[in-house]
């Protein structure tokens, strides 16, 4: 059920710790210590990415446990962006092979943006149909959608792969995007909850003035629910950006290969011996940056959207 409205403040007493002397305070100190340790465990790998990305790959062997970058250099980032000559790259421990990072970045942007835009828009339409229109079998179909939430993605992906293959769309953007373009049950479920909460009186007034469903949808429903739509857009975008399995199946070709798939390959491309860790961590950081920017811009929205507004 939609409970993003879970009252955080009305929980009053639960939020203000009961103070009954020094014993509780000792407990609170211990609790804070535990909390801080958990946050450190959460954040440390991120620091380690940064530390490694600014190190010289070859020097990592001489001082693997240094908490600061070893032999500080921008070299790894240069290698990622293809700005280093093969000789420079090899000198720092890179493979010297050209990495089409810009291309993969572009592919990720195209894939994530288009599939998200399509998904949010069409899901909004379907959610409107479920929330407002009356048609035979509506609730049964909606129940079917909820059931679809439970289907393991791989179960649909094998047949979808065949479908995309038969359509001749393997290694194309349409092939990558199509199965995600129209909707996902989750997105419909999420938006329907908000649409149900919108006051009907405005729509009824519009109907009396002769507005049809499309007009109501674009002029009333969409403007009134931009907040949940943006939230959904961000969540979906993050999901699509991080998607690995489907692009691995359908987009193996360089022309459409996205970052997640490329990073997997980047690791296994390393010949005998140790991978170019600095280069890999720099690539990983750059691949994560769009998401991190999105996150810092909308942190509050993202954090608050995780509740039971949608079961995901």
């Amino acid at each position: 059920m939609a409970t993003t409205t879970a009252p955080s403040r009305s929980a009053g007493v639960a939020d203000t710790p009961v103070k009954t002397g020094g014993k509780i305070n000792a407990g609170r100190v211990a609790a804070w210590a535990a909390m801080i340790i958990l946050i450190l465990i959460t954040l440390f790998p991120f620091y380690w990415m940064i530390r490694t990305a600014f190190s010289t790959s070859k020097s990592l062997f001489s001082d693997p446990n240094s908490l600061l970058p070893v032999d500080f250099t921008w070299g790894a980032f240069k290698r990622v962006f293809g700005l280093a000559t093969p000789a420079e790259a090899q000198a720092e421990g890179g493979s010297g092979a050209a990495v089409n990072f810009w291309l993969f970045l572009r592919n990720s942007i195209v894939y994530a943006t288009l599939s998200t835009a399509g998904q949010v828009f069409f899901s909004a339409l379907a959610a409107y149909a479920f929330a407002r229109l009356r048609w035979p079998g509506r609730d049964k179909v909606f129940f079917l959608f909820l059931t679809a939430l439970m289907i393991p993605p791989i179960f649909v992906m094998l047949p979808n792969f065949i479908l995309i293959k038969n359509l001749g769309l393997i290694n194309t953007f349409p092939g990558l995007i199509l199965p995600y373009f129209f909707m996902t049950p989750f997105a419909i479920f999420f938006l329907r909850q908000f649409f149900l909460g919108i006051n009907k009186e405005i729509e009824e007034a519009a109907k009396l003035d002769g507005a049809g469903h499309w007009l109501i949808f674009f002029r009333i429903i969409l403007p009134m629910s931009w907040a949940p739509i943006i939230t959904l857009f961000i969540l979906t975008f993050i999901n699509q950006w991080n998607d690995y399995f489907w692009p691995l199946l359908v987009g193996a070709n360089d022309k459409v290969r996205v970052l997640t798939v490329a990073l997997g390959v980047f690791k296994s491309q390393t010949p005998q011996g140790s991978p170019d860790w600095a280069g890999l961590m720099a690539a990983v950081l750059v691949a994560a940056i769009p998401i991190l920017i999105l996150f810092f811009a909308f942190a509050k929205k993202i954090v608050n959207s995780i509740g039971f507004s949608g079961v995901k």
Binding site: M1, A2, T3, A11, G12, V13, A14, V18, T20, R28, A31, W32, A34, M35, T42, P45, F46, M49, F61, P64, N65, F122, L125, A127, Y128, A129, F130, W135, A148, P152, I154, V156, L158, P159, I162, L163, F182, M183, F189, K200, W214, W241, N242, Y244, F245, T260, L263, S274, L280, M281, V284, A288, A299, K300, I302, V303, N304, I306, F308, V311
Partner: protein, 303 residues
Amino acid sequence: MSVVDTIEPVDRKDFVPGVRGTDKPPGKGDLAMALVFYVYPFIRGFYFSLTRYNLLGTPHFIGLDNFTKLFQDKLFWNALLVTVEYVLINIVFQTILAVAIAVLMHRLTQSTVIRGLILLPFLISNVIAALVWFWLLDYQIGLVNGFIAAIGFDKIPFFGDAAWAIPTIAMVNVWRHMGYTALLVFAGLQMIPGYVYEAASVDGSTEWQSFWRITLPLLRPILALVLVITVTGSFQVFDTVAVTTQGGPGNASRVMQYYIYQKGFTEGQFGYASALSVILFIILATVALIQLRLLRAGESDLA
């Protein structure tokens, strides 16, 4: 709090018969697409499981042959076992840590910043999480092994040892998912009214007692839903395995979804892969149903 609650009783009031002329309602084309990308493949998935199909020719109907073969397939049983091991380790640690984080946050702070920091690992992809830990846990120069050596123990080949591979992969995913799960639990905690705690403390209950006697029992319905989500997700582990061990060493980390992937896409036995995924589907559906039953998810003690 169950998902099914949200199907509303039909509200007669908003039924406006024959709404104005040729107004085609939005959303219908969409439902057609749902048929194309959900219902149709769903049915086709079952059909493929009854065929021999190598992707090049046409599917050849062979009845239940794939399933009889499957039950004698040692690698299948191995995959199942490995997956269950993964799920158990993953879920136990993830749930305990998530509840701990959620309760700590609930009692200590409402700060969005802290909630955001806790969520950070969930925002990066499985692939990135796997790569970072692959590096941190590297046998030769990984920091963790550096630390282990420094305090006088033998280094551990986390991804390279058959006994360590699955626990390691499970813990990497615990790291990525615990914050997200914690926020779900946190949302559940906020639904427990404060007066319950107030009453308990008036009666002399300590925080520790309140946690076991109030928080956990009242959290049960939420926890049930969270578990259904995390367990079904956990059964489908793939990315981390694909990026780090590729099923190895030997068959030690060849989880179900990775086995399905190999059968279908590396070996081209698509019918067999479909049969495997039917089994995975049945397992997931059963597990979800049992969980909801056992934890009586629909009922809340608050009601």
